[in-house]
Subunit: 343 residues, 3 copies
């Protein structure tokens, strides 16, 4: 797709067009910076002030905003979703030709529709689906399975026997199937390794961010259900179970055997301790540590404010003495009650 | 090993057998899910209720549990350690044949017992021990040393001159010897790099998790003593010293020149600031920030509870005003004392 | 450089020499461990006690310390900066010969002065500057640009179309240009990917640590200005903007569209939430979560003390009840005022 008219967009994706349907756009821009020939979108009232100044050729927005738009508009109840669909149409993924690069090492039979990039290694006994793309320097261990139409960016590692579902999108440096962290303390104080005998099972339509690591299970498998979206540098411990369509932001750590429900969201840098259960539709704020199971849907937070350093020193020092403070309040209450009883 | 009898297990690993010694098991299962032909273990009273329902062929447990076991059992004072030993026997590591893959680039002389996988690079001047396994896409810089029988999963990088001890197990994406973060501010506000001239020395029997990074020292070396176990995505700054048999969970950050003692444990996501000294046998809870040295063995924590969002807003806003709160309490105490002195 | 005299050092780098200018040194050591033939430095009064015991051949120090130095000294107002310059001179970066390794795959025209290591992939349409060094197993996507004299350690990935400035130093496992985390929720609860159409633009003289990930922009570019220094395992979200000469320590997470000013420093493990703006010359303490924009230069903190576990349990439990505590104080104040009004 090089450029399209607004009429073509509306006939394909719906929405109510206001303005000249023959206007052509070739690119999506931001509300603040889009120029003529670009289409943009307004999703949050916070940016409403930018609308009047927009130099875009058209704006995707919610119906109640259409009147305030100085240029052509497409009204839809969910402008962000509409933008996503339009962007997928205007910016289709890069086409990677099929075939095995001569520098790759392929020890399994693979379909002719697969693309295997430079210096990729595919061990023996793997099952690689139709249309899979493995970019440079990926390593696929023996017996691994990768579902059809999956795309692995350069430098992804899949450990032996792990299973990735269809249409996976896995970013560079992601690692699936490393050993869980399991050791028994022996009599002399050294650690004896527990062989990690389980695998990793990943459902369809999962995205895994750059540098994210997913450990294999100790005995049973680690499980990531369909539609889960994992951002960069997330650590998923052994035997974790993540429910369908849960989205987790960058730098989150999930300790072993934690179970996260469906349609949850976890903010960046949060930590979920091991053996915890989080029910469906739970939303955890960035930077929050979850130390107890959560059984009710809702939003949970546990972060503290950043203060200018002097204010921080003065206020946070009291954290070591909260119990004293509570004692003092109780003592005051007792003494005051005594006084109040006096005639 | 394909399958073994309970008698064979007890004769090799000890423990008190109760039940039919000729019972055969071929796999370890979890207490909840193990089936006939599988052996499982009970290590925590929390799971005791599952014992009565277990369908396993045998259970490893502590002597006082043996009477409550509905199937055959092996009693031992440390069931988890026993399980670890049994698992190591039943699930020996995959055998990787020796030899250099034709796509590898090997610029050092290496023993014939070494296995060098596809697209591995070994620079000049390296010393690679007997039986080392280097899986696909590993990069070993000039002058690095890797001790005998070490296993490097795909995509590990060892920087020039770094030393890894015997029997290391290093997971994919781990990086040993990257530059420490050292800069001097120059007069114009830009940063002048301090060349990182030290190396990394790692003792025997160390495991390093996926995506973990260990920086080389600025002048002296960064040191990881024998038996240390590092989980995934840990950052070890320059000149850190980690004592023998210390175990550190995922996503921990250890800043430069911190010194952690022997037999410590550090929970996931904890942060240890630079130039701090932590004595032997210290245990740090997950998510805790250590900003001061710790000189006494014990368990240390510094995390805060996650609350439902409304409760969080209501309670944590006071953190900015703890000092005011303390002032108010003191003022109340003074006023009350005045009143109490009245006749 | 193998060894130099103190006179040669002073004539090249300045400073006031005290002692024998013909003394030769060949290496930099630490104040505590430096031996004869080594030069060391004293930068912090904390280490002053070590000065009297130093066995180094010479010490770099500030003028007011020169009298207390038992060996030769070079006095300069900024000993650490002087040490950095001396170290750069004594320890020049390793020379890597130019040329393309036969196992590399190079699909772009590159200058003869470039070094391309084993199993490196350079896609089509790339622009690689003079003198660039790409160590083993790096992957450079189609259309990427890498400025002259940049050095990429083994296993770095640059995504398609991203731009790296001159003299970049990028450590192993770093990833530039992975997709930002952008999804729209569709009617059935699944997530629809927002194609990440922007790129990454990195200025000159930037260092990127091991395992650090920098996402490409959603529509506009992610921008890292000149002279920025990023430590290991930092996550930079899409459309983040980091101002010139800002230095960020390990394990920091910066969420999408955050804007960090010039000459800032961010301590290890800190988290900066999305769409936040931090002005120039702001310093953020390690482990601090920044949830609101900061418009004034200064130092900001938001961390809590680690306590021995029992003290932690006793004190931090009150955090759930701070609002009750504040209520109780107000009630006490009211009751006390009542009493005080009594005759």
């Amino acid at each position: 797709v090089t450029d399209v008219t607004l009429s073509e967009i509306v006939s394909r994706l719906g929405g109510v067009l206001k303005g000249d349907g023959s206007t052509r756009v070739h690119r999506i821009g931001t509300l603040a910076l889009a120029k003529k020939g670009e289409i943009t979108f307004l999703t949050h009232p916070r940016y409403q002030a930018q609308l009047a100044l927009s130099k875009a050729s058209a704006v995707i927005l919610s119906p109640e905003m259409a009147d305030q738009c100085p240029v052509a508009s497409i009204a839809t109840p969910q402008p962000y979703l509409y933008f996503a669909r339009l962007a997928q149409w205007l910016e289709p993924p890069r086409l990677i030709p099929s075939g095995i690069h001569p520098s790759a090492t392929v020890e399994s039979a693979i379909p002719a529709t697969v693309s295997v990039g430079p210096s990729v290694w595919i061990g023996p006994g793997c099952v690689i689906g139709e249309g899979v793309r493995l970019m440079a320097n990926c390593s696929i261990g023996p017996g691994a399975m990768i579902g059809a139409d999956s795309f692995l960016h350069p430098g992804v590692t899949i450990y032996p026997g792990c299973q990735v579902g269809q249409r996976a999108l896995i970013h560079s440096g992601a690692i699936v199937g490393s050993d869980g962290f399991g050791f028994a303390k022996s009599e002399d104080g050294s650690w004896l390794k527990i062989p990690q005998m389980g695998g990793v099972r990943i459902g369809a339509d999962v995205e895994i961010g750059a540098g994210t690591t997913i450990d294999r299970g100790a005995i049973e498998d680690t499980v990531i259900e369909e539609g889960v979206k994992l951002d960069n540098q997330i650590q998923v411990g052994h035997n974790v179970h993540i429910g369908a369509h849960t989205a987790i932001a960058g730098c989150v750590g999930i300790a072993g055997s934690a179970r996260i429900g469906r349609r949850c969201t976890v903010g960046g840098g949060a930590v979920v301790l091991g053996h915890i259960e989080i029910s469906d539709d739970v939303h955890i704020s960035a930077g929050t540590l979850i130390a107890k199971s959560i059984s009710r849907p809702g939003t949970y937070a546990g972060t503290i404010p950043a203060l200018e350093r002097q204010a921080w020193l003065k206020n946070f020092a009291h954290l070591r003495h909260l119990d004293d403070m509570a004692d003092k309040i109780r003592a005051l209450e007792r003494r005051l009650s005594q006084l109040e009883k006096k005639p």
